[in-house]
Structures are given as structure tokens and as C-alpha cells.
Symmetry: C2
Subunit: 308 residues, 2 copies
Amino acid sequence: MNGPDSAAVKKYLLSLQSSICERLAAIDGTESFRTDSWDRPAGGGGVSRVIENGRVFEKGGVNFSHVTGDQMPPSATAHRPDLAGAPWEAMGVSLVLHPLNPYVPTSHANVRFFIATPANAEPVWWFGGGFDLTPYYGFKEDCVGWHKVAKQACAPFGDDVYPRYKRWCDEYFHIRHRQEPRGVGGLFYDDLNTGNFQQDFAFMQSVGDSFVEAYAPIVERRLDTPYGERERDFQLYRRGRYVEFNLVYDRGTLFGLQSGGRTESILMSMPPMARWDYDRQAEPGSPEAELTDYFLQDRDWLAEEAPE
Amino acid sequence: MNGPDSAAVKKYLLSLQSSICERLAAIDGTESFRTDSWDRPAGGGGVSRVIENGRVFEKGGVNFSHVTGDQMPPSATAHRPDLAGAPWEAMGVSLVLHPLNPYVPTSHANVRFFIATPANAEPVWWFGGGFDLTPYYGFKEDCVGWHKVAKQACAPFGDDVYPRYKRWCDEYFHIRHRQEPRGVGGLFYDDLNTGNFQQDFAFMQSVGDSFVEAYAPIVERRLDTPYGERERDFQLYRRGRYVEFNLVYDRGTLFGLQSGGRTESILMSMPPMARWDYDRQAEPGSPEAELTDYFLQDRDWLAEEAPE
């Protein structure tokens, strides 16, 4: 009864994909998410849902994928010889949203589940996921609100969960060659298996369901903020950092590209447009300088909230 | 007399950088290359020369760097234990030019020299380099002309040199996850040490000097071609492929970023602006489709030339 139930996880992931797309399309108001289903020749497939040129979302994708294999590849089992040759499944929902308005942050979320079922042993499984926020113009209120929801999502699972996964997020989404974080963080976890499948699955659901609760209020608060060429230009420039992180460091992206994943679905995370300028420096004290000087600093956002 | 002469290589590289910048600035006509010198804390430094927002070149950089170390790092000597702890120098000129007009191809060139001088043994050295062309709209005349100069640059060094380094270029500049070449190729070589320093240095000079002879006629032929939003949009989209190659596969870029190189100089190769569209497909038979269907195909360009 307490064994891993991948059918239940899959059902949840598909419903999560739908509900996120519905909610975001309602906010956008002009464009909805078109659906693109694909098969993976080696087993499994996915459903990509894509929005482009919306009033709010310039580009975004909410991907479901479920890939399967008859045998774990040797490269994946170097440290787990017990799994060599075992059938396996990996499934998840992964999303990136690139809003048009530079005052609305880009966001990313992912929840995933992996299971291998060796012939003569117990299944081996784990969960991973999280969500993180990448503003172009920072607002303390947005960062605090985002992290409040992240903390609430973790609260039923122990007091140490939020601080641990918050720190892991800061560590993971770090652009080493720029010596700066990709954004203002959130949650990141991997290899989660407490031994209690139901509890770990409930945590996936808590994180998955919380994403839109964390993101929607920020989008709604900022989407009508007037902006001009200066803000748009800065947004395009900062999106270059997003590209750099995803193509140089992001494990999911690199593993996907190297393992023959579906390129268009993997690179749905790329911004619709980005720019690079040589040695661009923000004017000291400007909102653009504040982004890196204050917001992108591995901060404890919940300690930043003004006392009531 | 026939030993390696790194001072002579350095002198050549600095003069190559100057002459390329002068020639390209003359073609541009409105902008010249500003100079940005930098030191590398661990030893050595470089001179970056950058053009931005020119009439012809939207962005381009011609970098000279000369980095030195007291001791070869262990990671670099795993297969060469004889070099462990040896003082070393690496120097080179590396350039990428992103023209504004979509009918003018992007180009890249690099020539480099490495030498390690163990205490009780002969110096170990090698050359590497090449140049390659990335059109957005293809012209057979440009591809043939480019490869003719490449072949001429190699001719004094043996009949097998051009075909060998042409093939190496096609293999190296391949975007695996797109299953397409980055461009129409050129030359690529590495680990070149025939035992004759003067000859190998002469080859570096032949490749270095040929770059602008190969590129300038193409730029001059295409720079006034009228274009509109369609061509510009396609150029920005294809530049996304350039970003993907450089950040996912290019050894120089990744090694530079990982080894604490100067990020702004390394990422000068990034285009000024790029775009990504989900699952974009060119209309069959259009010039945009012709780029991938005909031009990006690992072709023997010199066999494409019409018989006279």
C-alpha cells in the first residue's frame, strides 16, 4: 500500500500542467497555451504546452514528459550497480515563463519523479523539483511573498525543509562565471526519498500546487507597470544571463540535450529574445544596479520583511 | 635556432590583431575598435578590441590574450605527466564578428600557441586555430570564395592539409542537439607540432593572414543588400544557434569560463541580440529553408564551383 505509485504521480503531473496553463492563460487574457504532443523513439514521450506573444507572456512553456527505458544505461549506474539493466521511468512537469513587461519576473518550476524497478529487488525511486524567480527590476514585496509561499509549501514536512531547500536553490542557480545568482531563489531539492512514498509524493504536490500561488500575485501586481525602451533593453540584457545559466550549467538542460531529448521542448526555456553588450555596467544607484547590488545576493528574504 | 620562439609568436599575434581591426574598421566606416586591456590575476592578461553598433558590424571583438602560469595544473597533465609542474604560456588571437545586415555572414577565427617548459626537458609546444563562416542567407559564391582562400592558405604546407582541416572544422562546429553544422565551415586544427617550429609558425601566419582576405570580399559584396523585418528576424533566430553552440559545445568558451577566464572577453562571441521561437519551421523552398537544406550540409564547397 505504501509502495511507489507511478500512475498516481503521472495523473497528478498531468492535472498540474493543465491547471497551471489555465490559470496563466486567464491572467494573460489574449493568448492560450497550444498543445504539442511528441513521442520519444526510445520510449515514452511528452506534451509540450506553449504560449507565445501573449499580452503578459512573451513566451512560455509548461512541459510534461514521461520517458521510459528497458534498461538503465551503464553511465547512469556507475554508482548504483544494483540498478544496472533495470527498467526505469522518469516523469515531470517543467516550466519557464518569460513575461513581456520587464517589471514582471521570469519564473521557473519543475517537479519530477524517477523510478527504477530491478527484477529481484525493491524499486528504487526519488523525487526532485522546486521553483525559482528571476526579476529584472526587483521588488522586496515580490521576493518576500514568493519565499513566504515557498516556506508554507514546506511547512507540513518539517521546519528544516524550507531553509534547506532554499539554500540548495541558491547554490544550484548560481552563475559561477558571473559570480552572481540567477535570481532571488526559491526551492530546489533532489534525490528525495524519505522511505515514505506517500509523504514524498505529498511534498511534490505541495511544491507543484504552490508555484502558481506564489507567482500569480506577482504577475498580477506588475503586469500593467508602464515601461519604456530602457527597461526593455535591460530585460533583454539580463535574459542573456538566463541563457548563460541554462546552457552552461543547468543539469536538466545539458543532460536532455546530450541524451537525445527533444530539443524544442528542452530549449523552450530559452527567452524569446536576449541581448549581450560588451562589459555593460549599470549606473551606480540606478534600479538596474540595485538588481545586482541588492536583489541578487543570496538573501534571507523572510528576514527582510518589515516588522508589523 | 629552430627552437620555439614565443616572443616572435606574440609579436605576430599583436600585429595580426591590429591589422584585422584596421581593415574591418575601414570597411565599417562609422565605428572603430575600442581597446580594453586587462590583467589576469594568476598571470598574464590580454587586449580586447571591441566594435559595437557600427554601420556594418553590429558587434564584434578581436581578442588578444597571453596567459601564463608557474605550474601546469594537474587536470591538464593527466595524460602528460612529464609536464606536471612545468611553467607554461598560452597565447592567441580570437575573433567573432556579428554583422548587422542579415546577408553578411558571421565569422569566427582563432590562432593560438601553447608552450610548456619543463625544468629538465625540451619545451613542449603546439599550435591550433582556424576560421569558419556562419551565413544566415547562403550564397554559393561566398562559400566557394571562403574555401578557396582556406585552401590557398594551406597549399604551401601540403596537399592533404586543406581537406584534413576542412573536415576537422565540419566535425568541430557541429550542433549535435540540432543535428546541423553551425555554418559552412572553413579550417580547424589543433595540437599541431610537426617538429619544425618555423614551419608550424608559418602555418599559423598563413591562416591568420588569410582570414581577412577570405572575409572582407564577402562583407563588401553583401553589406548593402536591402533587407527587411523578415530577414532580420531570421538572422536573430539563427543567432540563437550560435549561442547554443558556443555555450554548450565550444571547448575554448567552456574552458575559459570554468578556469576563471575573463568572462566579458570570452563572451564577446555572443551575438548582440538573438531570439528563440518554439519549433520554428521555414517555409519549404524559401531562402530560409535553403540555409539548412542546402548550405548547412558539410559540403565540399570547392566541388560546387561551376566549371569555367
